[in-house]
Amino acid sequence: MRKQVEQIQAATVLFAGDSGDGSQTIGTQMTETSAIVGNDVATLPDYPAEIKAPAGSLAGVSGFQLHFSSETIHTPGDSCDVLVAMNPAALKVNIHKLKDNGILIVNSDNFARKNLRLAGYADNPLEDDTLTKYQVFPVELTTLTRRALEDTDLELSKRDLCKNFFALGMILWLYNRPMDYTIRWVKTKFSTKNPHLIEPNILALRAGNTYCEATEQFAISYEVKPAEFTPGKYRNIAGNTSTVLGLVAASHQSGLQLVYGSYPITPASDILHGLANYRNFGIVTMQMEDEIAAVGVAIGAAFSGSLGVTGSSGPGLALKSEAINLAMIAELPLVVCNIQRAGPSTGMPTKTEQADLLQMFYGRNGESPVPILAACRPTDCFDTVYEACRIAVKYRTPVIFLSELYIALGAEPWLIPNVEDLPKIEPNFQTDVDGFEPYLRDPDTLARPWAKPGTPGLEHRIGGLEKSDITGNVSYDAENHEKMVNIRAEKVKRIATEIPTTEIYGAQEGDLLVLGWGGTFGVIRTVVETKLEEGCAIGHVHLRYLNPFPSDLGEVLKRFKQVLIPELNTGHLRQLVRSEYLIDAIGVNKVQGQPFHVYELESKISKYL
């Protein structure tokens, strides 16, 4: 008998389990498949802070949330249609995210007394009435996986590790998705180092799929039709990968060797890992002894005429500030990636936040203007970090590229750009000896010459002591110092003359402008879309350029009666906008290590409409 298939517009699935249960893996696989069959997707991985928290504990729960849709979406979803909980702890941590009447699949094998106790359940929730508002599907995932792998050679202890693929097989069935992409991935993933794991994982996957088909437990499956996309070639991409590719592209297009200095830190390490693979692009990655050394090698590389880039997160940025200032006064191109996480201090390293903005603006001694750009979604990391490289090279200045955990780890479909369409990056090295002065500037950009060591006749000395205008010699002259401070500020301001003017989504003037930056883009856009449908005079501006602001921003803000600035901090952009434009912008702020929910923002915004 063919089971019933129901058409739905979108679904949100949350995979949760112990950090060793492989929820991230199957979540990623479900994302890949959903993207390839044409849905729009948005994801939110949620890692525990400890690598190996005690098995079964609340602290050890790792989750992966995936939203897929036949419509354009911008967020991983507020609440879930399906929760896969591999143990009681995963259930406890995540059950509040499941919608009423949502599907709850639990590995009932893990609901023995010990695990219940670890999760703080006095009674087994599968046996009392605590879960009555959900559709509960207890499945003996461990037993069934063992049974499926009975005939394999895999050691008994390793068989249980395949149970995540059993669960994935079930979810693929539930949403009528092909298994081919996952099977292909399993084959490539394990082909070199662990070929003996290929067959068992595929068997478990198939067994999960057949289980749903064969048993009466599951009566209905769902189908989410492809979304409408701009024609072109797509792939699914996470923010950090997008950053990696943006850096490789900038190096390639500028003809400058990329030297990336870094020191491992969550959530920036993946950029180091990613770039380390691309030696065949001539890319040098240097894992240094600390973040200061990491920015140091990037500055040394920049001095030599390479594309020097360093990457870290908030604590690392704190260490780098003195060196960024050196690059600023030495006027060397440098790109500094800050993949923000929740602070202060070590804070909550695996949680998201946007609370480093003022640190990036003001966290250096003296007058230290540095351009700051922020990516707003995973795919946007590519364009934004590329643009950061372009500005750094053109204006001979350090540029800060901001990303944040939420978009760094989140993934979505990416319309792959054409290489020919990428903006030009021209190093324009100084080679002419005639009239060369280290601090003689381009009249338009105010950039100084980039004269790299090895060029005959251009020997010169730079450094962190105040420079004399034009000659670059050390100077303690009072007037000169003020002049140089102003020139450096003016140089950064001039960037505004070539960046795009402000784009307003929705109403071009009216009651409320929602102004955002960074990873809040998706939530803001979703809410603004709804409000526009309701007929409100609301607009959305999302800033990529935070320093300098687009030249028309002040004028745009004044076209609305009120300006609302949602941020995952206590009001950094709001403070900047208020002082720059003297407008009484209102903040919507959240500092919980979690992104905004759509409903949260919607209720806040509704108050002003």
Binding site: G232, R279, F281, E289, A293, I416, L458
Partner: protein
């Protein structure tokens, strides 16, 4: 002395003189400062290295000594306190053809930059490090430094400093440095020859230079540098030669129960320690380094260790070449289109 040089530093541009290495900036050290001599010897030896000025880069941190790059007519970068090794590493990595020189002080290299210093040595970039050791913080006007003797009375330690000093040679050896030497600001000829050996060594070359700060720590090294006392308080290391010292080379150093001992029976050279700077094993070098912590022993001056090991920048260059050979020159189009893709019509 082994000769190199397998690196790409282009050699053989003759006809430069020390004048070519003088920049147009006025030298601003206190009159009588040992830094002048180090600058003069460096300028004098540069033409002999046979590399064009444009391929030479001096990188310094912060301190009196770190003003050095401004006075050399080469490329130069006066960076931030303690971080010169990091900037030099990035520079050398990005362009291995450059001859890179780090100028640092005892505070710069061993306090604030201690971490970078040891990591630079273990990575073995082909970089030369000149540490101006004056056992004091000169630029900040005379606080004790990590090489100051314990009990030193300074502005910041009116009752005497509590810390026991680093022995920079021992530290460098422990960090795996492949070239370790000591020289003196007041022995121009020796200093020039050591600088030249350092240049010729492929790998990180570390030279500790005893430097007199006549303002805040005058005479700290006089017993090793001045005519009357030098011969009795120093022993000059010569590869393959027994360790002898004194005005007439009348004293020698022998081993007694794993301890160095001064002997006056220098005719029996079998008894004396014979220097081997090329020994892979660092036992002898460590032993010699520790002699300067022993008041009764002369301070060794010269090359403690000089061994060949792979340089970071060469290994990286090889990895890049290998990756290109294995996977082909990076193709951006292919990279962007890699993985599972789909087409929307």
């Amino acid at each position: 002395m082994k000769k190199k040089k397998s690196s790409g530093i282009p050699l053989g541009v003759p006809t430069l003189t020390q004048k070519d290495f003088m920049s147009d900036q006025d030298v601003r050290w206190c009159p009588g400062c040992g830094d002048y001599s180090i600058l003069a010897q460096t300028r004098r030896i540069m033409p002999e290295l046979g590399i064009p000025q444009e391929n030479i880069v001096f990188i310094s941190g912060i301190g009196c000594s770190s003003r050095f790059p401004y006075y050399m007519n080469t490329y130069g970068f006066h960076t931030i306190h303690g971080r010169a090794p990091t900037i030099a590493s990035g520079l050398k990595m990005a362009n291995p053809d450059l001859s890179v020189w780090v100028i640092t002080g005892d505070g710069d290299a061993l306090s604030i930059g201690g971490n970078h210093f040891i990591h630079l040595l273990r990575r073995n970039f082909d970089i030369n490090v000149l540490l101006f050791n004056n056992q004091i913080y000169g630029l900040t006007k005379g606080q004790y430094s990590p090489t100051s003797e314990q009990g030193k009375s300074t502005k910041s330690s009116p009752f005497g400093s509590l810390e026991s000093p680093f022995n920079p040679i021992s530290l460098a050896l422990a960090a795996g440095a492949t070239f370790v030497a000591r020289s003196l600001d007041r022995d121009p000829e020796h200093l020039r020859s050591i600088i030249k050996f350092a240049f010729e060594h492929k790998g990180t070359s570390f030279i500790e230079i005893y430097q007199n700060c006549n303002i805040f720590n005058d005479g700290a090294f006089f017993q090793y540098t001045e005519k009357e006392t030098k011969a009795d308080n120093t022993v000059f290391l010569e590869h393959g030669e027994p360790l002898v010292f004194g005005k007439e080379d009348e004293k020698g150093i022998k081993l007694n129960n794993f301890q160095p001992e001064v002997t006056t029976e220098t005719n029996d050279t079998d008894e004396l320690i014979v220097h081997d700077q090329y020994a892979e094993n660092t036992t002898l070098a460590n032993f010699l380094a520790r002699m300067s912590d022993m008041p009764e022993m002369p301070h060794p001056i010269g090359i403690f260790r000089s061994v060949q090991q792979n340089c970071y920048e060469d290994m990286m260059t090889d990895q890049i070449a290998f990756a290109k050979q294995q996977r082909g020159e990076g193709n951006l189009e292919e990279l962007l289109n890699a993985g599972d893709t789909w087409v929307v019509e």
